[in-house]
């Protein structure tokens, strides 16, 4: 068992496709809230395997896409401080800020380094005791424990030249906000790797309060097709529930150790989401105990005036209201090589996934 090939069996996928066609009688719109799913769905051509009654829409689950432009602007402002090294995941580097990007600043000589893990950033802090290292912490519950672990390790090692600029966010609030806003969806393909950490219970309120189903899905085509089958079945039989399709990696209780680390370091706070605005208790800030590792408390910077791009409809795409092809700039002024909006930058962004894999 390699946990990949087994889930790409073509006959099984086609058979599931036939079964979905068979049970689906009513129109249903299902939203995937994880950027990894957006990418997998496009890559494996899942929409082509579904009947006309079943429509998939992307949601707010690409961390780079929902991150505010002012976050980028502030990271750029940090990069201009003396003796500073900015460390970041590669995804963020080309995201446009108001007038620049981390990539452009790097080309101009700013000390900005791409890392694969927060652990690499800690190593840089260790090797450069005379420099201050800021790690750009973005991502949801899957990624946030890594930043927490980094801070805890830095504390233990006495690496006080290390800090995190947190834009970490949590998934349930935007999922609730979308339904509250009346976005037309009947079920959620639940985020698999977020749920590896959080467990499945954080979604219990969705069927309970809103009557919508959530099926936590894996990332292979068979996983996705099976999850869609389960959601269509829930919808047709009017029995919304939280179900785990991805049981090989998701336990109902989640990863307790990782959750404890989140609790130890972070504090819930209101946060801004592209398309949705400010949502209560949807972000993770660093708590008082670890204030000396909080870049926002360590450095004062002046940030340029926010300038949003006109014409980019990323916000409504993240809400499942528009599709990338509805954007006038898509594939013309906005391409992965020259992205106008964040949704075209990250591999997990709906516009980038659509551009890369769409056979239209």
């Amino acid at each position: 068992m390699k946990y990949i090939d087994e889930y790409r069996n073509k006959e099984k996928i086609l058979s599931l496709s036939a079964q979905i066609k068979k049970i689906s009688t009513k129109k249903v719109r299902l939203m995937e809230v994880c950027g990894g799913h957006t990418m997998a769905i496009q890559r494996f051509g899942i929409p082509d395997l579904l009947p006309e009654t079943v429509e998939l829409v992307s949601g707010p689950g690409c961390p780079v896409c929902v991150t505010s432009r002012s976050y980028i602007d502030k990271a750029i402002a940090y990069s201009k401080l003396p003796n500073i090294i900015i460390t970041t995941y590669g995804d963020l580097i080309r995201v446009p800020g108001s007038t620049s990007s981390l990539d452009k600043e790097k080309a101009k000589g700013a000390n900005i380094r791409i890392v694969y893990s927060v652990l690499d950033a800690l190593k840089i802090a260790q090797d450069n005791p005379d420099k201050k290292i800021v790690f750009l912490g973005i991502g949801f519950e899957t990624t946030a424990p890594g930043s927490a672990a980094g801070i805890i390790k830095a504390q233990m090692a006495g690496l006080f030249n290390f800090s995190v600029f947190s834009a970490h966010k949590i998934m349930p609030p935007p999922m609730a906000a979308l339904i509250d806003e009346g976005v037309d969806i009947q079920g959620y393909i639940g985020p698999g790797h977020v749920s590896s950490i959080t467990g499945s219970h954080i979604f219990d309120f969705i069927p309970a309060k809103y009557g919508l189903g959530v099926v936590i899905s894996g990332f292979e085509p068979l996983d996705l097709m099976q999850s869609i089958y389960m959601l269509v079945n829930q919808y047709e039989t009017k029995s919304p529930a939280v179900e785990i399709q991805y049981s090989r990696a998701v336990k109902p209780e989640g990863n307790i150790k990782a959750l404890e680390m989140l609790d130890e370091v972070f504090l819930m706070r209101d946060d801004w989401w592209r398309g949705l605005g400010i949502l209560a208790n949807s972000g993770l800030g660093i708590n008082e105990k670890y204030a000396s590792f909080d870049a926002e408390k360590q450095f004062e910077v002046e940030v340029e005036i926010l300038k949003e791009d006109k014409g980019c409809i990323c916000g409504t795409i993240l809400k499942g209201i528009s599709k990338p092809s509805d954007c006038k700039l898509f594939g013309k002024a906005c391409t992965p090589a020259e992205p106008v909006g964040a949704c075209m930058v990250s591999n997990e962004g709906a516009c980038a996934a659509h551009y890369k894999y769409s056979r239209e």
């Binding site: 068992m1 390699k2 946990y3 990949i4 087994e6 889930y7 099984k12 058979s15 599931l16 079964q19 068979k22 049970i23 994880c34 950027g35 990894g36 690409c62 961390p63 780079v64 995941y89 590669g90 995804d91 694969y116 893990s117 927060v118 652990l119 690499d120 973005i138 991502g139 949801f140 899957t142 990624t143 424990p145 890594g146 672990a149 790797h193 590896s196 950490i197 068979l222 996983d223 099976q226 399709q245 049981s247 090989r248 990696a249 998701v250 336990k251 990863n255 150790k257 990782a258 680390m261 990250s346 997990e348």
Partner: protein
């Protein structure tokens, strides 16, 4: 960045493991898992340098088996529908 991949543990030293994905090897921190439950040859989900969850072989097999059962079940239903000429699901 959000990508997490199933990776096989090749060796363990303190709280770090060397894991393989396809042909490539990566170092992974095991800080978020219970070390007592990990052995060489196990698969873990690798995310930004951390093993975030052990992949359960039993559950993986169960998912695939469930699928087979459900395929069989659908064939039975198909057959019943053919015989009765009536839509069941």
């Amino acid at each position: 960045m959000c990508l997490s991949v199933p990776a096989k543990i090749e060796s363990i030293e303190n709280d770090m493991a060397v894991c393989s994905v396809g042909g490539a090897t990566y170092r992974a921190s095991l800080l978020m898992l219970d070390m007592n439950e990990l052995a060489i040859g196990d698969y873990v989900l690798l995310h930004t340098g951390f093993a975030i969850q052990k992949i359960s072989k039993e559950d993986a097999e169960e998912t695939l088996k469930l699928f087979d059962e459900f395929e069989d079940f659908n064939e039975i239903l198909d057959e019943e529908e053919r015989i009765s000429g009536r839509r069941i699901v």
